[in-house]
Symmetry: C2
């Protein structure tokens, strides 16, 4: 059992149990289906949001509460929130894949508050289980309260609440006029009939009370208030229950947003009761199980294992469905797809096609859609070939390349292959006066957003990323036997670009970040602030511009200049004043976001670059530095089961080391690939599996179970004097396993040189 | 002393003292200057908002708190909020004109929490007075907390807080990039040095506590936390004070928004300390005094007096400066200006000129500016002539007419006179197939916003209002000796329009509301819902279309059909389903807003119409029906010192009679004029004063002091057998007082026929 400051991982299930229910900051779990998502904390508090095209419609508010009131004494408490921090006998939260469950045991009553989203629909479900663990019969009243988001225009006179007693259903409607969508109805359905209800926080809690002491609890029954013209709505139910010793009762609440009353009635019937809840729970577990089947690691590091086997898949999974929550970023979708393609081929294909529909006819793509964000970033095409290749190598499904897809600004449909080539050419054709790729509105670094708006600035990082993308495109074209002259041309352009990078982008022993519209160097010794950036160095290795000793040399530079106690900063020194020729990042407080934080997405690039260099110790150490239990940053506040987007950097005098945000980050995908493809070294190669591990030196053995191309591979790693592989009992040449199209199970022993 | 359910009015000052500190809904006071406004409740809780051009920038959040902690016992409470409803010895809120002050006395400590806005700048000030009323020396710690609104973009990494100990000033900055304005700094200055501070609610209150039990209070000192990357900021100070018996200490906090640190330092010095606070308070009282001087009523009804002398002026005053808070509506500014011209001539002129700059070259005007709202309402020009006339009659300043003003859509400048005539002609030229005025996007009734979007629908009410506006324009032109043929032409058009109104707009004994784009009657017996509207009836009287017996007959109809226990509904029956050919109002819940609520603005029109008919009893009764103390609607929740925009109508099954919103309504201006110009009958007529009262029959005497045209009039009303006036001891003919340009004081006795 792996323990941490805030709780522990349950062996086998991946579940994390939060035992410190008042941690430094709330610890979030994300729950979602294709129609809605929620982020809930250790109390199951947090918004639920439905997707209606590009609109994100919140329908459930922050508070989700259950109160237990002893009808004899009149005393009450909230077992999932414990506002008064009473001495509960047990109080913890199970953070599961697809559910969260709070357990509160107090005065012989065990209450479990379990939250999930069913596999479809704009819905959430809650099961409240109350169990008498004492020796006497108990007469209790149970109150539930759910904050809701009902009003969908500023016209609060258009909203109202009504109770349908026969259905035990509270209906909240908003008459529609001048609304942006027609999901004007929210409902809360109880599987058993409550004794009484309220439909607003003002009625349940009282205008002058807090949820720690709602006026509703001081009355014998709730007042059954339906209302209109309210800023806020919420659903409160009261249930009277008697429990004999060892007896338990369940209440299941179903909450959703729909278009009208009829849909509410229909949907609430579909999801009513304990069986529906159990089924939804089983479906969540089924998804986890199928993802685990693809790749299960047993390394010497339990944390590596639980993250790779469960939580990184989960975290990538959120991006897989929801992009970054508020929108779908082209580069974000592309990177996440590369990461999850092994465990969901079909969805990966869909995502690639959907992303390419958001490419412009000129080869570039929009930064984000749902909703559209059109600031002219230039790096989008740099992510296409890598993702297409990742899909092909995992699935061997070359039909992808022939799929015809339109463009954001043109109805003309062209094949994925053409889209990919166009992307490559867009970059190669967008060169500035140093022969480097134009910077436009920014690159991976969203916040360096004012470097090239006048069409002059050039990005060294994007030039390096372009070299990588061109090589990937060429690799793809070679694979399909494309015109050799064309491919040679690509390599020539890539070589020329590399030459320009080395000539104009490499100064004083490292790669500068670029030249802005005014010709000023960004990320160089000449720069007043932000003199060194991380990405150009790591990507020089990823793109093969620096290999071997040169590769190690530049990463030595990174270790020397950008390392801190808990990772590697995105740049250094931080900007301390707004710098127009850089953009938004210079306005962030020193050490935050792209202004010199430890931006974990960039750290993950660095980890992969270490592996490319064959430096397993560095890669592993890098991973451990950004883990929740780094002893040099023991109180970041981050969830142990999810990576944060950043740690506030050492230059952030006010909050250095804190990890205020988590889950929503490209870090997850790159770490997943870093662990599985680089440290464990398992790479799909069309119909064959390549195994080229990059272990830290203290690892002696490890195991992996991997399904691929219909086969199952049981892989064991052992130490030896040289690298070699024994496949089904026989040593093979090289590190590429033989092809098997028959779906067999294989035993592989990978000998890893010390 | 006038008592009510929630408190009482203090004789002489107009101050209202809230004694029920937990009323049905929070009771608001509005405070403002030209740069900022705040609406605060009985605890002094509520946002403060600065104006930066058309942008409204909140800078202070809801919570404003003081805590008293006995350092001996460790017990604490909040004297201005009393979260736990401890048995305070005294606990009430003084609602003053330009200030609010909460008094809490508990365990021999009197704390006064006084809030105001200084006369200029984007600022608020708070004075906390703590007094030892016991017999023993006390050692206390005093904590203040102020919620703030700091972040001005979604990029929370751009914000931070720092403390300047030498200045006792907390500075909150937001580095600017992609912000809509540059008021990126908020400061909180204490006049005395605190012992310690916090700068975020999370640090002061704790993440898991509420303000009823902040973690900060459980520590010996606050932790002096500066921070960044926070969603919310707030300023907490701790002061250690010792108070001998009868000793008191003051803390003055100055809070504002500025562009940068230097401005914060400068402004906080300008407004530092008790003297600055006293000065600001004195200035508030000076404004009230100057407004009272213009017109002070002593009628038999104390409530009429306190409202006309103090609070209606105050309520109109808000509109005078801030329009409807979120924007400046053309018709709203025009109506409010008509109401406040007597007590601020110069500002009235400015407002008229500013409004006319928002007229289109075609004569119509934009619905609202700051920010612009361009839905094509058609009634704007109908309000111009009345307002221009009101200004001329009060001030006799005809230079207004020659002022040149541009247009919203044209740089050409034309005189106010031309603007006025153009407005009139726009209406007369916008006739539909029944010869009635086109309805466009709606009229006074903002929510009937889909009746005429296709350019076909015609409004009967707007046609009536046009008749009134044309007559007013003609009166104006006659006064200045304009071309008689032109004036005759106006009258002819007005007569023709009146004929069409009577022919197509008067059916089944009342005026319909109009014809929509589909030719359907809105507000007629043929209409499925909304069969009768109030405004067309009352305005038929106001416009002189029905006079004498006909006028009384149509108002009888109103009494019969639209009266309820607490006023007159805007229409009846309510729409129960969205009706596309009507618009938004049909989507409001039955009984709310323009869908059959008692919309007080419309009720005020009705009160004036009663007076025009000479029905003083009806007018007075109408006023009493919408007052807070109507025994048939005793629990509306409304502030006794401010009129609400509406009472939810009798068809609102869920909340009938409630008054959820107040202050922001055109009701104030029309009621003020109804009382002063119609019931008391004091009308300015250029250089002379006309007195034509319309008393309720039970009024025997009354007094008014009025300043006008440089003179002071002491007017006494007495009952007699016939109407006549004695002026400085001599009976005069008619009701128009002689002209006096010498600034004398006059004694007038008005005899009112029974």
């Amino acid at each position: 059992m792996m323990k941490s400051k805030t709780g522990y991982f349950v062996d086998g299930t991946g579940e994390y149990v939060i035992t410190d229910m008042y941690p430094k900051r709330p610890l979030k779990n994300y729950l979602w289906n294709e129609d809605a998502y929620a982020s809930v904390d250790q109390f199951c508090f947090g918004n639920a949001v439905a997707s209606i095209g590009e609109i994100r419609r919140p329908f459930a508010g922050a508070e989700r509460l259950v109160y237990i009131k002893d009808e004899k004494s009149g005393a009450f408490y909230s077992p999932n929130r414990n506002y008064k921090q009473e001495p509960f006998d047990e109080y913890y939260c199970h953070v599961g894949v697809g559910y969260s469950k709070v357990v509160g045991v107090y005065k012989n009553i065990r209450t479990e508050y379990c939250y999930l989203m069913p596999p479809t629909d704009k819905m959430e479900m809650i099961r409240v289980t109350v169990r008498n663990e004492g020796k006497e019969k108990r007469k209790l009243s149970v109150y539930t309260y759910n904050a809701l988001e009902v009003n969908i225009t500023e016209h609060i006179g258009s909203g109202w609440s009504k109770y349908y007693a026969d259905k035990a259903l509270l209906l909240f409607e908003h008459h529609i006029f001048e609304a942006k969508h027609d999901y004007a109805t929210v409902f809360v359905k109880s599987n058993i009939k409550p004794d009484s209800f309220e439909s607003t926080p003002n009625a349940f809690k009282g205008i002058y009370n807090g949820f720690e002491n709602p006026v509703g609890l001081s009355k014998p029954h709730l007042d059954n208030t339906e209302s209109t013209f309210e800023f806020d709505y919420g659903a409160a139910f009261r249930y009277e229950i008697e429990l004999s010793p060892s007896e338990e009762k369940n209440i299941v609440l179903t909450i959703g947003t729909v278009r009208n009353k009829e849909e509410a009635f229909a949907l609430s019937e579909k999801y009513v009761g304990e069986k529906a809840f159990d089924l939804a729970m089983a479906q969540q577990k089924q998804v986890l199980s199928s993802y685990k089947d693809v790749m299960t690691i047993e390394s010497p590091d339990d944390y590596v294992n639980v993250m790779a086997n469960v939580w990184l898949k989960r975290q990538v999974g959120f991006g897989k469905t929801w992009g970054r929550g508020l929108g779908k970023g082209f580069r974000d979708v592309m990177q996440d797809t590369s990461a999850f393609v092994s465990f969901d081929h079909a969805l990966a294909k869909l995502r690639i096609l959907d992303a390419l529909r958001h490419q412009y006819f000129n080869g570039n793509a929009i930064r984000m859609w749902e909703p559209d964000f059109k600031h002219p970033y230039m790096d989008m095409p740099a992510w296409i070939a890598a993702t297409v290749l990742a899909y092909l190598k995992e699935t061997n499904d070359f039909t992808l390349l022939d799929e015809k897809v339109g463009y954001l600004d043109s109805d003309e449909k062209e094949t994925v292959l053409v889209h990919t080539i166009k992307g490559c050419n867009f970059l190669l054709d967008s060169l500035g006066k140093h022969g480097l790729v134009l910077w436009g509105g920014g690159d991976w670094n969203d916040s360096v957003n004012n470097v090239g708006m006048r069409g002059i600035g050039e990005s060294v990082w994007l030039s390096i990323a372009t070299v990588k993308a061109v090589k990937e495109t060429a690799e793809l074209l070679e694979k399909i036997g494309y015109d050799k002259t064309y491919i040679d041309g690509l390599y020539k352009k890539s070589d020329a670009l590399t030459e320009n990078i080395l000539k104009h982008g490499y100064k004083d022993g490292y790669f500068i970040y670029g030249y802005n519209d005014d010709g000023e160097i960004v990320g160089g010794q000449e720069s007043e602030e932000g003199k060194i950036y991380l990405n150009p160095q790591t990507w020089a290795v990823l793109a093969g511009i620096f290999t071997g000793e040169k590769g190690i040399e530049i990463m030595d530079f990174v270790e020397r200049e950008l390392r801190c106690d808990y990772g590697y900063v995105v740049c250094r020194p931080a900007y301390t004043k707004p710098t127009l020729g850089v953009g938004r990042s210079s306005c962030f407080y020193p050490g935050s976001f792209e202004n010199a934080s430890v931006y974990n997405h960039g750290v993950a690039f660095k980890l992969v670059a270490d592996c490319v260099n064959g430096c397993g110790d560095r890669a592993y150490e890098t991973f451990k530095m950004i883990c929740y239990d780094n002893p040099k940053n023991p109180d970041s506040g981050a969830e142990p089961y999810a990576f944060s987007n950043m740690y506030l950097g050492p230059e952030c005098d006010l909050r250095k080391g804190d990890a205020p945000l988590s889950w929503i980050t490209g870090t997850a995908g790159w770490l997943y690939r870093g662990i599985t493809e680089y440290i464990m070294g398992l790479k799909a190669e069309y119909t064959r599996l390549r195994i080229a591990p990059c272990f830290p030196s203290h690892w002696e053995t490890a195991k992996v179970k991997r399904t691929f191309n219909g086969c199952t591979y049981h892989i064991e790693y052992r130490r030896a004097e040289e690298n070699y592989i024994v496949y089904d009992g026989a040593r093979i040449d090289g590190n590429l396993l033989p092809e098997d199209t028959q779906g067999n199970t294989h035993t592989v022993t990978v000998y890893v040189a010390r």
